[in-house]
């Protein structure tokens, strides 16, 4: 074959100017000359199967073509499965469970078959070659650099800002507000005051002010809105409670979920004593926050805002599953391990005239993750 003429590194004489119409020059010589135009020298070019139709070549050809056919088979299987296989969710149906895996498998195998076919075609059947290309690193020659530099410098001079300084000054002074003009609607529309309605410090537990100036305390409710009597929580038990206001259990009051715990009598004794002592970090008066043996803490972790909801009944610890901060329930929910630095806010508990648990006021400490201006 003509391609072998220039192989194996033997330098074949190639005319400097190639005549593309000359029937004596082989096609490979033309290709090689074209590569030289781009600074590429094909130094080694070797067909993998010099004698045409050898057994290995035929075998490889068969393999590649059967891979392509197999790919078509899998693709057809994909389409058939996609259309006829039961696909609607049905816990009683075992066939339905295989719908997604079968789609993935047939699609994947179909693609992998073409991939392996194409790869073996390229790697095993096409000629091996080694080409060398020059890099031409380091950019343009000195003369070009000088030319660009001079042109740029001349352009700046042409503008004449040096000669007419007022132009430069007015450009800077006049166009800065234009930049602000472009930025203002983009950013301005997004800016929202974080302290509107004192929202960082108020939760759904704030007593509701009536139209006549009277205030009504907020009941502790379950997720479905039903109020809770002290007898509903057994000793050692706990319950997530929400403010008994419209939408109190929804995400609109994401800072309100609270954990109500019915402590055992001796733990309650300790907790009450510690309530009087305080955390040492703030000067809140927590006396009277507990109702009987009931104690309630904000469920929103003071570290990153996850619900600190894993309650260890035996050790009276509350663990936040996100970053493992641990709070001691019997000691003002002070953090005792992990990255949280602040105690969980405690909800002052009471009972209304109908015997339901209520919040005597909103949380007195800031609920949720810390921020710069928290007092």
């Amino acid at each position: 074959m003509s391609l072998q003429n220039g192989s194996n590194g033997t330098q074949h004489r190639v005319p400097a100017e190639i005549d593309y119409d000359d029937p004596r020059t082989t096609r490979f010589e033309k290709v090689r000359a074209a590569a030289r135009e781009d600074g590429v020298e094909i130094v080694h070019y070797e067909p993998q199967f010099p004698p045409k139709g050898s057994r290995v070549e035929r075998r490889l050809t068969r393999t590649v073509s059967s891979l392509f056919l197999l790919s078509g088979l899998f693709a057809t299987a994909f389409v058939v499965i996609y259309i006829v296989w039961p696909w609607q969710w049905d816990p009683g149906d075992t066939w339905e469970r295989f719908y997604t895996p079968l789609l993935g498998l047939t699609l994947g195998l179909s693609l992998l078959c073409i991939a392996i076919g194409v790869l073996s075609w390229g790697k095993k059947l096409l000629p091996r070659e080694v080409s060398i290309q020059d890099r031409h690193d380091g950019g343009a020659p000195e003369s070009d650099r000088r030319a660009v530099g001079t042109t740029l410098g001349y352009m700046v001079d042409e503008l004449g800002v040096k000669r007419r300084p007022l132009l430069g000054l007015s450009l800077a002074a006049g166009l800065a507000p234009v930049a602000a003009l472009a930025a203002a609607p983009l950013i301005g529309g997004l800016i929202k005051n974080p302290h509107a309605n004192n929202q960082m410090f108020v939760t759904g537990w704030a007593p509701i002010k009536g139209a006549d100036g009277s205030t009504r305390l907020v009941r502790l409710t379950r997720e479905d809105g039903t109020p809770i009597r002290p007898a509903d929580v057994s000793t050692g038990g706990q319950m997530t409670v929400f403010p008994g206001i419209p939408g109190g259990a929804s995400n609109a009051h994401a800072d309100s979920p609270t954990l109500l715990i019915h402590l055992r009598p001796d733990d309650a004794q300790v907790a009450r004593a510690n309530n009087l002592k305080g955390t040492g970090k703030d000067d809140l008066d927590r006396s009277g926050y507990m109702y009987g043996d009931f104690i309630a803490y904000s469920k929103i972790c003071t570290h990153a805002g996850c619900p600190a909801s894993l309650y260890e009944q035996q050790t009276n610890r509350l663990l936040c599953p996100c970053h493992q901060s641990q709070f001691l329930i019997t000691d003002n929910a002070k953090p005792i391990f992990g990255p949280a630095s602040r105690a969980l806010p405690q909800l002052p508990l009471g009972v209304d005239e109908e015997g339901y648990l209520v919040a005597k006021s909103d949380f007195q400490a800031t609920v949720g993750p810390d921020f710069w201006e928290r007092p």
Binding site: V56, L107, L111, A115, I132, D137, P321, Q324
Partner: protein
């Protein structure tokens, strides 16, 4: 009627000329066809990222047809019965619909998620390859910076992506993200309420994350990836040192046809693997997590793997709160350091590294030849240190699961992470440095004395010694050229090449090396097909 003759043979040339007259593309096209690429398996890691990005675009476009980026409350009425009648956001309901009520929607969703995981993994592995081989040196510093930015933008793409289904897990992630934003000194509350349009969670964050996830971030990714690949094209790929390979040339194959065909096959392979993953391995089963509720979380709620290191750093951080007693008092919460400051430092370190290394080595030369990691022990050791640091953080991101599965105290895991984060990186540095020196020394030893043959001889005076096969004919010490030194006899051709054929041999095996003491270093005998003989015999008949 006279029929005009169409010369079919001349048609391509004629069409080509017509195109050229109008567009003038022949010369650049010749350059592209002739462009030479060096070949090595490690150069293909970046391609995995590129190809999985294409899969991400394809599957992601499909998902947008069905996803509803809205926090409007709806009551679920789809075919997944356990959640029927539950109040949830439209975003979560439409994600359930993609999973249960769109034919083939689940496989698309899972492929999208898997492609994202593969994308990030390929970026990290590709980055390690670039680092350890010194491919970031002049003139490629800019591409190194773009590449490390691509990691962080991919990180944001992933985070916004797994936040928008609004399931229990993604809502928890969003809440932590809001806490991270809140922790920024001075502007934290303003940033948070501006992004969430009020207090967490507000009612618009899903829509905003959605447009970031499907338009802003992908546009940025496409732009940066184009520049990244364009620069590789323009600056030409680096290559390993070797025979004929210099700092001023590229030795390899021309782009067409073999190289391009291999790339196409590789793309299909990556696509196929992601399709199998997406079909067979369940990922992010949001229907099990339920809709996001502020009061609900489950243990072992881990983010995607590329976010886990930040989760780990947050868990390990001691509760150091900084109070500034001015006025009512100001606070810098502990979460600020591991989630805002640490990523900032990491971005700066990776950006500055090429310049720091060049400065320390007083090196302003252009480097197109790669270095073997062992030849640059300091850099390799620094890289090992970074990997150790990263791994401790990733493992700490799952320390609750490790504690649970292996019955270790959770607090002990946290302490192990804290201590490990400080002492493991220096240990990794020292060990890696010594290993590099050892490997270097062994290379030099083989170049000086030859390959170990495994043949023990006894000298007349009773001494035992091992026979070495020298690499040069005249037993001279060879110079190290920065490439693999053969260290086993079969690398010298002494054992003959592997035999072709999968289940049964296609060739007659070469004669095994015979007498010890005379290892055959001459080239292996010519290969012959087994059937050639049979054919000869048959033809004789």
């Amino acid at each position: 009627m006279k029929r005009r003759k169409v010369d079919l043979k001349a048609l391509p040339a004629k069409a080509g000329n017509e195109v050229e007259d109008r567009l003038g593309v022949a010369t650049p096209l010749r350059g592209i066809l002739n462009k030479v690429f060096p070949d090595h398996w490690s150069f293909l890691l970046g391609e995995i990222a590129l190809f999985s990005f294409i899969v991400l675009l394809l599957t992601g476009t499909f998902l947008t047809f069905f996803f509803e980026p809205s926090m409007k409350e709806v009551i679920y009425d789809g075919s997944y019965t356990p959640l029927r009648g539950v109040h949830m956001s439209a975003a979560y309901a439409s994600t359930l619909d993609i999973s249960f009520d769109v034919r083939g929607g689940l496989v698309m969703r899972q492929m999208h998620h898997w492609a994202a995981l593969v994308f990030m993994a390929a970026i990290v592995v590709h980055m390690l390859r670039i680092f350890f081989t010194g491919a970031f040196r002049k003139p490629r510093e800019l591409n190194w910076i773009i590449g490390s930015l691509l990691f962080w933008i991919g990180f944001l793409a992933g985070f916004t992506g797994y936040s928008i289904p609004d399931d229990g897990l993604s809502g928890t992630g969003l809440r932590i993200a809001s806490a991270i934003m809140l922790s920024i000194p001075v502007i934290g509350t303003w940033v948070t309420s501006s992004i969430f349009n009020g207090e967490f969670p507000g009612d618009i964050i899903i829509s905003r994350f959605f447009i970031a996830h499907v338009l802003l971030i992908p546009a940025l990714l496409v732009a940066l990836i184009s520049v990244h690949v364009g620069l590789v094209f323009k600056q030409k790929h680096t290559q390993w040192p070797g025979p004929g390979r210099t700092n001023t040339n590229v030795v390899g194959e021309r782009m067409f046809p073999r190289y391009a065909i291999k790339q196409a096959g590789f793309f299909l392979a990556v696509f196929g693997v992601i399709a199998v993953l997406g079909g067979v391995l369940q990922i992010n089963p949001i229907w099990l997590f339920g809709p996001y509720e502020a009061a609900v979380v489950s243990a072992a709620s881990q983010p995607d793997w590329y976010v886990m290191f930040l989760d780990g750093s947050t868990r390990l951080m001691p509760a150091w709160e900084i109070n500034i007693p001015i006025g009512n008092g100001y606070v810098i919460p502990p979460i600020f350091w591991p989630t805002v400051v640490l990523p900032g430092i990491l971005v700066m370190l990776s950006t500055a590294y090429p310049f720091v290394e060049a400065r320390m080595n007083r090196d302003n030369k252009i480097h197109n030849l790669l270095q073997r990691p062992r030849d640059v022990p300091q850099r390799t050791a620094v890289g090992a240190m970074a990997i150790a640091f990263f791994l401790v953080l990733v493992l700490s991101g799952g320390n609750d699961v490790i504690a649970d599965k292996f019955h270790i105290s959770l607090n002990a895991m946290t302490w192990a992470g804290r201590i490990g984060l400080l002492i493991l990186p220096p240990i990794a540095y020292y060990v890696t440095y010594r290993i590099c020196l050892g490997l270097q020394q062994h290379d030099r030893e083989v170049l000086a004395h030859g390959v170990e043959t495994g043949i023990i001889r006894r000298a007349p005076d009773g001494r035992f010694y091992e026979v070495h096969q020298p690499l040069s004919e005249d037993h001279e010490e060879l110079e190290y050229v920065g490439w693999v030194v053969p260290k086993k006899m079969n690398r010298l051709g002494a054992l003959g090449p592997a035999i072709k054929g999968f289940f049964r041999p296609l060739e007659r095996p070469a004669e095994a090396p015979v007498s010890p003491g005379h290892p055959p270093v001459e080239p292996a005998p010519e290969r012959r097909e087994i059937t050639a003989e049979r054919r000869e015999i048959e033809s004789k008949k």
